[in-house]
Symmetry: C2
Subunit: 423 residues, 2 copies
């Protein structure tokens, strides 16, 4: 008998009907002879409503109390889901993150899982129960306080539990049929990917694909837990994410897995930086001290006449204000002329392990963009990814052009988007 971990997002359990539909699917998995652990997110917009309430009470909600507040959402959905399963004649027990043994550090609002001790879950499964676990939450090791795992935390809960319970698979149910070769809302002819390696999935996630978050894939790779991303609205097979293709499916690794895009970043250019050792370090130390994660970095060739250079980097738009403030504060120490802030940019990335052995990929990528009339502003590459920054308005056209150029287009418009945003 296998052990399966299933995760259902907020759009799958948005209302009583959704909960009942999901309950039926869970019972099916149980009837198929599996032990079943289910991780569930808060219903629909519950979390947003709680955040809104918090903001009305206090402009800067405190970490510990904010986590206590948000975790109420998953308690509601998990209890309702357990009731719905019992109503179908099967035994189910719900567990909070703490009860499920999800132990985290004490960084409220974005805690990291440091251990999973699922003794109570194992016990419940051994009694024949279906175990329902609140996603997105844990308990801090030192203070025994309730913590939340931040964005995409329920996916991480599911993968962490799958690892701790040595599950056969972690199924992530969402409102799309799987991972596609591009965002189906932009590319009508995007194809569902049957299988993708952890490495390619990590690059896609880092490049703006929103189906799975980087952190969750990273966790799955470390413990070698196959992920099956699929829709809770259809019965279709979705996308398998694993180190090797699963079972008798001999899927050949594609040269290119997909095209991702990201319009959530902004670009800051530090203009007129003295071209001498230590200057770049001073800039990025100021940014790091403000706890801002940056993405791409480019330094222009220095103009010999002036001895000055420009340094550009990209970062989440939400961190823009903070970064500008941090740089202005360190201006005298660093020494630069001015700062330029640009949030009208977009990033397009081509991801695929085949790149390593196909030297023509980079050239074809740039040709496709050029043919589509898209100007490139920044370039960054890894072993299995090429990313460029363009004007934000050029992104949809650029993605479609690249998708077509690499032969990723489907013969039909197969992509279906069922509901909300699914997180």
């Amino acid at each position: 008998m296998g052990l399966v971990v299933q995760k259902y997002g907020g759009s799958s359990v948005a209302d009583a009907e959704g909960i009942k539909r999901v309950a039926k699917r869970i019972v099916e998995a149980k009837k198929n002879g599996n032990q079943v652990v289910v991780v569930v997110s808060a219903m629909g917009d519950t979390t947003d409503e709680l955040i809104d309430l918090a903001e009305r009470v206090s402009p800067m909600p405190a970490g510990r109390e904010f986590d206590m507040l948000l975790t109420a959402g998953e308690r509601i959905s998990m209890a309702l889901l357990a009731m719905a399963i019992k109503n179908l004649g099967h035994e189910a027990q719900s567990f909070t993150g703490s009860q499920a043994g999800v132990i985290t550090d004490s960084v409220h609002n974005k805690a990291r899982i440091i251990d999973v001790t699922p003794g109570r879950i194992r016990e419940s499964l051994d009694k024949g129960n279906i175990a329902i676990v609140a996603g997105f939450q844990g308990v801090s090791q030192d203070k025994k306080d309730i913590t939340t795992l931040g964005r995409g935390g329920s996916d991480t809960t599911a993968v962490a539990l799958a690892a701790a319970l040595d599950a056969e698979v972690c199924e992530i149910y969402t409102d799309v049929d799987g991972v596609f070769t591009a965002d189906p809302r932009v590319v009508k002819k995007a194809k569902k990917i049957d299988w993708i390696s952890f490495e390619d999935m990590l690059e896609l996630a880092a490049s703006g694909s929103k189906v799975l978050l980087h952190r969750c894939v990273e966790y799955a790779r470390r413990y070698n837990i196959p992920i099956h991303v699929r829709s809770s609205f259809s019965g279709l097979q979705g996308t398998w994410v694993s180190s090797e293709p699963i079972g008798d499916k001999k899927v050949e690794q594609a040269i290119i897995s997909g095209v991702a895009h990201d319009t959530s970043e902004a670009k800051i250019t530090v203009v007129g930086v003295p071209d001498k050792p230590g200057e770049a370090a001073a800039i990025f130390r100021a940014i790091a001290d403000a706890e801002i994660n940056i993405d791409m970095v480019v330094q222009n060739v220095s103009a010999a006449s002036t001895g000055l250079t420009d340094i550009s980097f990209t970062l989440p738009k939400t961190e823009g204000r903070k970064a500008i403030d941090a740089l202005e504060k360190s201006r005298s120490g660093i020494g630069f002329d001015s700062l330029r802030y640009d949030d009208q940019i977009g990033k397009i990335s081509l991801v695929g392990a085949g790149m390593k052995t196909n030297p023509g990929v980079t050239a074809s990528f740039f040709e496709a963009l050029s043919d589509a009339g898209v100007n490139i502003e920044l370039i960054s590459t890894s072993e299995i990814r090429i990313s460029v920054v363009t004007r934000k308005d050029d992104v949809p056209e650029a993605v479609r052009a690249v998708h077509t150029a690499f032969g990723l287009d489907s013969d039909t418009d197969e992509a279906v988007v069922y509901g909300g945003t699914g997180r």
Copy 2:
């Protein structure tokens, strides 16, 4: 420095504004030099909305999951309240029932508190924090499952914490100014009671007064914790409930504390019961086996010619169906002619320790009812209470008549009802 436990009901924290108002009041108590522990209910109608969701998912929600669901309500209100207090520049920490050390038995939906170990609360107070505790919930001793305490559970949480922390007072904030000599919605001239003994308060609660529940008062009496019932909407002194009048207030004990009424009961009459030993026992064994609590019991004088008698008793309307079924099932064993069910009854009770030493009270009570043209169907008495059952429609008039007859009427219409039902 004193330690004060305050409890705020759902109507006091119905929205963000209510939470901010309550936060200010809590901070006042802290500024006055007290250590402050706050017990809070779920916001407004949250609990009812969760119950409604549960019913849409499953017609018979299971105990353990139902408790998990309902406790989400208090987690939301307590976290928001802690945020609002911090926003006023004071330190606050919120605690679930489990974190606060509220240990219960395992009877889901109506668990009993068996121990309170408020180590974390004490620690938080000693650091100068205001401690916010989720009312209505605890954790079961044996299984470590989340439990709820049933109706009025937040009041019980407050009193139990006050006892465990050796508090000076347990303040119960609600949407009325205190305990009145009668329900102000029925008797415009009802007076606020300044002080009432535990014993009289217990009888009032048992007789239908809804401001404090019997269980909470019983707990306070056992541990001798003074309760101060007052409004969270006004700054007025409310009603003190304690063994002796508090402080320099030399309040003389009134002969009559108040008039309570209850229209939530029904009457069942078992007709044609053989008048021989063991018959009544068989009837009430059948009722007890169905876990139904009954209130008043009356047996008519047997008619000598038939050797048959009638037995009537009252019970909560909500248990009516179950009681009839239990009796029908035991019909052959008991032997009776028929059952009569009547839910158009009401109970009026006169409560006061002075009754013991004032023999005329009973007579005056019956005279007042008679003068008001109210027919009495059943009578039951305790040392400090007389209760009668009448037609439901007669209740308001009967309560007013008795209230006037015993000189309880205020010179003015002082009673103010601020908000919802306040539980």
